[in-house]
Amino acid sequence: MAKQRAAVLGVGQSHHRSKRTDVTMAGLCREAIDRALADANLEHRDIDAVVLGKAPDLFEGVMMPELMLADAIGATGKPLLRVHTAGSVGGSTANVAASLVHGGVHRRVLAVAFEKQSESNAMWALSISPPFHMPVGAGAGGYFAPHVRSYIRRAQAPDHIGALVAVKDRRNGAKNQYAHLRQPDITFESVRASAMLWDPIRYDETCPSSDGACAIVLGDETAAGPGVAWIHATAMRTEPTTFAGRDQVNPRAGRDAAAALWREAGIADPLAEIDAAEIYVPFSWFEPMWLENLGFTDEGQGWKLTEAGETELGGRLPVNPSGGVLSSNPIGASGLLRFGEAAMQVMGRAGEHQVDGARKALGHAYGGGSQYFSMWVVGAEKP
């Protein structure tokens, strides 16, 4: 028996806020799950298995929280898998759920991812002193700023590109009813005037800390009706955090994953064939960096696509029409949101941030020190 086709049947997400003190972790997940099941026109009893993803347990202070969430996420009496692949985990969660369908193990699978950062302190959780490594001590922004500086030097990019990305993503986020930050009035000048946090990353070019959840229902060919998003390809790659000669700006793991993804999806020219891309951009400059890493442009050319406005809604390749990670960042769920938003685009269910006529879309997530990558391509047509 060959690999089974798999499709996204429904997508749901919570409202993302810095502190969702109105709900528990269970309530937060349930908000997303209920919307995903309604979107798929299914009920809990239709689900065969649940896959839950989230970033480090230290972010909420609960060890393996999927265990205590079993009832709330509808997993009791069913198979439950917990995925954790750092910041890419939301994407990996979708890919593992897709594997369960591709492998003929289950007909309908619920993928859930969440982070409730207000339960704990992510900055603390990320600032421990691991053996044999320099402690970061400054959160993710301090870690990634040198990569951005290196990119600007290598690509000879003008220094205003990051602000262009921030304005675009925040304005897109204003069209998304679930986004954490909704700033329709943000301007290039206001971003450039915001405080410098980690040179060259300014306050307005930085993702927020969010409480939020996302859920996706996946199904096989017999479970898929009209209007679903077919999974055309998935890819995951990992490389170590540090080693001599590692290219942290344009990591090989990302390039390898993208190459495998386009090959499986039968895509020769991603820029021409992908209609919308949800790319994991927690700091503005990662848009041009990942455009290159993903092969949408040659190396050193990504910023030109951004500068020309081609990544805006209505451009050649709308990037993060949902507002992206810059508008909502419930860490563990951020990847699944990218994958879910890509599906919503090809299902024509993206509301005010719908890309007209989107037929093929990319979902992308990365994690760790730019070393974990997961991606998928979804399409309106069967692969």
Binding site: L67, A70, T76, L80, A86, H102, I128, P130, R237
Partner: protein
């Protein structure tokens, strides 16, 4: 779909304390090499990697990322990780091979429990709003379960001691090895009434590796592959008061999925003596089934690797024509259970 088999197994010595990092690298490097060597497989020949571990056990975020250093993961690898016992990583790898995307996978799990106070660390798995603040530790929760079974006449302290005596005598290479009678064990003090020290798995640092391969590739890599004829798992409610703690409906359902007829050998991931009895009942085992010839978790219990090691131990012991069952558990009082049935040609 592709048939999938266990083709190689290696495990680090189960010891009370290692001096390595909580990232498992020092334990993993030699056994990844050993497992690949047994299958005559190069690192670059592994199609998919999947691991199981816990950040809370390691006392740091992203401990599994540093564990990747044990692989030498460059060129980049196709890899995933579960925050659970690596038996669930093996499940993910089994699915991956079934999709046909890859034909080999290396699965590993590691845990350095000596880095903290395990029974209190595991209390962090309980409901954080209403239960965990009371700090019922893992041994106390298991003690409640053991007491329920005794009160219902399902097992006795003597039955539990008999399980422990057999486990302690089973394996001279295990962390715990002792020739002792059940009567002698019953004279020892309680640690959490009705549990005595021998009723509880020891605190162990350890790691395990299993290599899987699909179809013809399995035959190329191994003289007698242990074919996985079925693997399934289920989770139960986290609310201890909502569960019937003296049985294991999740194990029963998983066993029904995979079919356990003809099983004569079993490796059960029962970290407490009464749980072995409970699982034998749930699985309907009689005297025809040899349970935990390795000594099982009562003789050595590397967290997040012990479930995977059950699959490896069962596969290694399998003789031609024989069927074996391997079981893994996760969560308080057997909340989540996985059953894997293996068969040799």
């Amino acid at each position: 779909m592709n048939r999938v088999a266990v083709v190689s197994f290696a495990q680090a010595p189960n010891v009370r304390e290692t001096h390595g990092t909580t990232n498992g690298v020092e334990m993993l490097v030699p056994i990844i090499r050993e497992a690949l060597g047994k299958a005559n497989l190069a690192k670059q020949g592994v199609g998919f990697w999947c691991s199981g571990s816990s950040d809370y056990l390691a006392g740091r975020a992203f401990s599994f990322i540093a564990a990747v250093d044990a692989i030498g993961a460059f060129p980049p690898i196709h890899e995933s990780h579960v925050e659970a016992d690596a038996a669930w990583a093996l499940f993910e790898a089994w699915v991956k091979i079934r999709t046909g995307e890859v034909d080999t996978a290396l699965v590993y799990g590691f845990g350095k429990s000596s880095a903290g106070q395990l029974r209190r660390v595991l209390a962090m798995q309980l409901d954080p709003y209403t239960v965990a603040p009371l700090w019922p530790d893992a041994v106390s929760v298991a003690g409640l379960q053991a007491r329920l079974g005794i009160d219902r006449g399902l097992w006795s302290e003597a039955d539990m001691a008999a399980v422990a005596a057999r486990a302690r005598a089973a394996n001279p290479d295990a962390q715990i090895h002792e020739a002792v009678t059940a009567e002698e064990l019953l004279r020892r003090p309680y640690v959490a009434n009705p549990l005595r020290r021998h009723d509880c798995a020891p605190v162990t640092d350890g790691a395990a590796v299993v290599v899987l391969a699909g179809g013809d590739r399995a035959r190329e890599l191994c003289a007698r592959p242990a074919w996985i004829t079925g693997i399934a798992h289920r989770v139960e409610s986290a609310h201890l008061g909502a569960r019937d703690l003296v049985t294991s409906p999740s194990t029963v359902a998983a066993a029904k999925d995979v079919g356990t007829d003809g099983v004569t050998l079993a490796e059960l991931h029962a970290p407490f003596s009464h749980q072995e009895i409970l699982l034998r009942h749930a699985l309907g085992f009689g005297d025809e089934v040899t349970v935990n010839p390795s000594g099982g978790p009562l003789a050595g219990n590397p967290m997040f690797a012990a479930g995977l090691a059950r699959i490896g131990e069962a596969a290694t012991r399998l003789r031609g024509g024989q069927r074996a069952l391997a079981h893994a558990t996760s969560g308080p009082a057997l909340q989540q259970n996985l059953v894997c049935v293996l068969e040799a040609d």
